[in-house]
């Protein structure tokens, strides 16, 4: 029976002809737009998450404390502090030498270590937001040992806002195209309903179950949706394999992520499912609008 229903759905698709092709193209466009924005947004999201983990606030100390553990204890007790590391003047100098690499010998000519001791504070998740980070900076600046406090999460938040904006644009464009796709599938299905009215009449006369009458309509809509989703995926894969190798060095440098990721298997299934759902919805709407 399933074979028959699928066969009827395919026959219906052939009948819908150009309208069905238009519907498939629109579904392809809507899912490609949605998927494209989703890809950019998810990669930007990876960068944001990575940078959120790396937010550090540095408290430069007036002088090297004689008992760093006591200062560390007080800092750990401050709300919004997830962790703190003491960096002695000597450690800071060693780090500078490492950064300088082959030019490290220049440090040896300094009359004294000019670098201050510092505390590297890791904010908790709630303090990694711009407001949270600002509050934490204020609390750290109030420490009697603090000379200067550096660090904020503002730019990460801006990056995050860009990511959200891209996701919203993607959803908006995708939604508009999706509505157009649904309406086109509905039109294609309405044409099919008209073309298959004789079959429907015969089916009802011989006592065919409602499922045999209605399922091919739903199936052909789902097939249009699935075909559109597969084409969108192919387009996105082609775009990704073309663009990713060229963009990766740039995003590595600017965003600090080593590579650009394509969809996970779950993402691919979601896109295919979304296409199938769009098409099915179009088919169902036509059937509901004009009962055969």
């Amino acid at each position: 029976m399933l074979g028959f229903l699928v066969g009827e759905a395919l026959r219906d698709l052939r009948r819908a002809g150009r309208v069905a092709i238009s519907a498939i193209v629109l579904i392809t466009l809507s899912l490609a737009a949605l998927g494209g924005f989703w890809l950019v947004s998810s990669n930007l999201g990876r960068a944001v998450a990575q940078w959120r983990d790396r937010v550090r606030i540095v408290v430069y100390l007036k002088r090297e404390p004689s008992a760093p553990e006591a200062v560390l204890g007080r800092v750990r007790a401050i709300p919004g502090v997830s962790g703190v590391t003491y960096i002695a003047k000597a450690d800071a100098l060693r780090a500078l030498k490492q950064v300088l690499g082959k030019d490290a010998s220049v440090v040896d000519h300094l009359p004294a270590n000019p670098l201050p001791a510092s505390l590297e504070v890791t904010p908790s998740a709630t303090a990694a937001t711009p407001e949270g980070a600002r509050d934490l900076v204020g609390r750290l600046a109030a420490l009697p040992e603090a000379d200067e406090v550096a660090g904020s999460a503002d730019w990460i938040e801006r990056l995050s806002q860009w990511q959200r904006l891209l996701a919203t644009i993607g959803l908006g464009v995708g939604a508009v195209l999706a509505v157009a796709a649904i309406l086109t599938v509905t039109t294609a299905t309405t044409l099919i309903l008209h073309a298959r009215r004789h079959e429907t009449e015969i089916m009802r006369l011989v006592g065919a179950p409602e499922s045999a009458i209605r399922l091919p309509l739903l199936l052909q809509g789902m097939m249009q949706g699935l075909a559109g989703a597969v084409l969108a995926l192919i387009a996105l894969m082609a775009g990704y394999s073309l663009v990713a190798p060229r963009l990766e060095p740039l995003v590595n440098l600017t965003l600090g992520i080593p590579d650009l990721e394509f969809f996970s298997p779950f993402g691919i299934l979601t896109l295919l499912g979304a296409g199938t759902l769009l098409g099915g919805l179009g088919g169902w709407l036509a059937r509901a609008r004009r009962e055969p």
């Binding site: 004789h198 015969i202 009802r204 006369l205 065919a208 045999a212 009458i213």
Partner: protein
């Protein structure tokens, strides 16, 4: 098999009430071949439509194959129709399918196993004498052949009841005689047949029980 009791049917055309059937009563036993005779507009088609539950009577009761049709829900109609073969004046063949496919279509929508299709379709085609035209499209058939194909489609499920609404209406005498012979053969196999026709000569020539309708009333039930 069929029990029609004091059935009336009135159509409303705006404020105007048009009676199509008035207090029609009759019984048809299993295996009977009954002719519904009467001029155009006598109520034959309306009566047949009530028998396959395409419409409900305004008054009265109808029982077909043990089903009480008046209170029958829409979802139950399909079950009733699976036991009834129906043919019309217009053969209603699907133009884009061959004769074989038209008949097999009915079996497929009812979920018949694919391996049984060929044998069952050709059995039906043999009964109507159309085996050699299995691969022809409806446009390639004469009207008589098209009607025989429609008959094959109606009997391929071996229904106990066959309703035929003017199946010879579009045919010349020779072709009509062929269809009548096929119907007689089908009836001889035990199928109950109700044949509606406005052709009084055909009704008489059949020598079967004839219920004559006039103005929506049964005016004669003889034979």
């Amino acid at each position: 098999m069929i029990e029609v009791h004091r059935v009336s049917k009135v159509y409303s055309v705006g404020p105007v009430k048009v009676p199509a059937l008035r207090e029609v009563s009759f019984r048809v036993s299993k295996g009977e071949f009954v002719v519904l005779s009467g001029a155009s507009g006598a109520g034959k088609t309306t009566l047949l439509r009530l028998l396959y539950r395409d419409d409900r009577p305004s008054e009265g009761d109808i029982e077909v194959l043990g089903h009480d049709l008046v209170p029958m829900r829409r979802s139950q109609v399909a079950t009733l129709r699976r036991s009834i073969g129906i043919v019309f004046q217009d053969a209603k063949l699907l133009p884009v399918r061959t004769v074989y496919e038209n008949i097999a279509f009915v079996l497929r929508v009812l979920g018949a196993p694919r391996r049984e299709l060929t044998a069952r379709v050709f059995d039906a085609l043999r009964v109507v004498g159309l085996s050699s035209r299995a691969q022809a499209y409806p446009a390639q058939l004469s009207q008589g052949e098209a009607q025989r194909a429609a008959l094959a489609r109606a009997i391929v499920r071996r229904p106990p009841l066959l309703l035929a609404d003017e199946p010879t209406g579009n045919l010349d005498d020779a072709m009509a005689a062929e269809i009548v012979d096929v119907l007689k053969d089908i009836g001889a196999g035990g199928t109950t047949i109700v044949l509606a026709t406005h052709q009084a000569r055909l009704a008489r020539a059949l020598h079967r029980r004839t219920i004559t309708l006039d103005g929506g009333r049964v005016v004669k039930d003889e034979g």
